[in-house]
Amino acid sequence: MPHEQSMVDGYRFLPPGLAAWIKTFIPEEDFKGEIPFQPLTKPLGNCTVAAVTSAGISLCSDPPFDMDREKREPTWGDPTYRKIPETTAQDAIQVNHLHINPRYILEDINVMLPISHLRDFAGEGVIGKSAPTAYSFYGFQWERTDFLKEAIAPIAEQMRSEAVDAVIMTPA
C-alpha cells in the first residue's frame, strides 16, 4: 500500500537569510522541460551500482581539489574529478570543500559516499555488484558547466568500461 509521504523541507538546515536568498533562484512551480530518463533494464539485484558525490573527496595520493583559486574567484569551482576505488580506506582520503564542514566525511566516508555499504549490499544480493570505482567531483559550480565535459563525461566513460547500470549520487 502506498502511504502518504510528508514533504521534506529542503531549506530546514539553512540559516533564514541564506534560505531566503537561495529561494530567489528556485522556481515555485515544477520543472517543465524535458528530463532524460533511463529505466533499469534488469532487477536491481543484477545491477552494477556506482557512487558519485560532489563533496570534494580525493585520495591523499592525488592532488586536492583547488580551493585557493575559488577563494580568489568566488564564482569559480574546480571542474575536475577524482576516482575513489571502492576499497578505499578511511585514512586514505582528504576532503576539500568550502561549502560544508568536511570533518564528518573524514571520520566516516560513508556519510557521503557509501562505498562500504554498496559492497555489503552486493554481498547480500540487494544489488548485483559494487562498481570498482566511485567518483567525486566538486559541487560548487555556480553558473559554470565546464565540469560536465571535464568531469562527468570521463566518469561516464569509465562507468561504461566497468559495466555500470545505476548510480547513487550524493550532493554535498
Binding site: Q5, S6, M7, V8, D9, G10, R12, F13, L14, P16, G17, A20, W21, K23, I26, P27, D30, F31, I35, P36, F37, Q38, P39, L44, V52, S54, K71, P74, T75, H97, L98, H99, I100, N101, P102, Y104, E107, D108, V111, M112, H117, L118, F121, V126, G139, F140, W142, T145, F147, L148, I152, A156, M159, D165, A166, V167, I168, M169, T170, P171
Partner: protein
Amino acid sequence: MGLAARQLEASGFATVVLTPTWEFHRLVGIPRSAAIAYPYGRPLGQVGDREGQRKVLRAALDLLETATAAGSVSHLPEEWPEAPRDTHWHPPEMSPIIEAHLEDIKKAARR
C-alpha cells in the same frame, strides 16, 4: 548535481540523487530524487551509524526500481536527531560566494 545526473542518465545510466534540498529539481529537472531531511555533508546519516546509513541508501536505491517517470521525487521519512543549529554542517570559514553576496543575503532575509 542535477546537471550531472541528467548527463549520466542521457548516457544510459539510471541515477538517483539523494539530496537534502530536493527543490533544485524545480530548477534543473532531476531524473530521480530521494529527498532526505539531513544536514549538508551527511546525506546518508550520522557518523558510524551503519544501520541508519544502510536504511537510507536502501530507500534511495529502491527508487531506481519504483520510479516510473522522469522527475520522480521520493520524500524519505527519516528525521535527524539534532536541531538544525546543533548540526554544525557549515564550513569552518564563510564560503567565498556567501561572502561576496552577503548584502544580497541580508536583503533577501528582510523581504
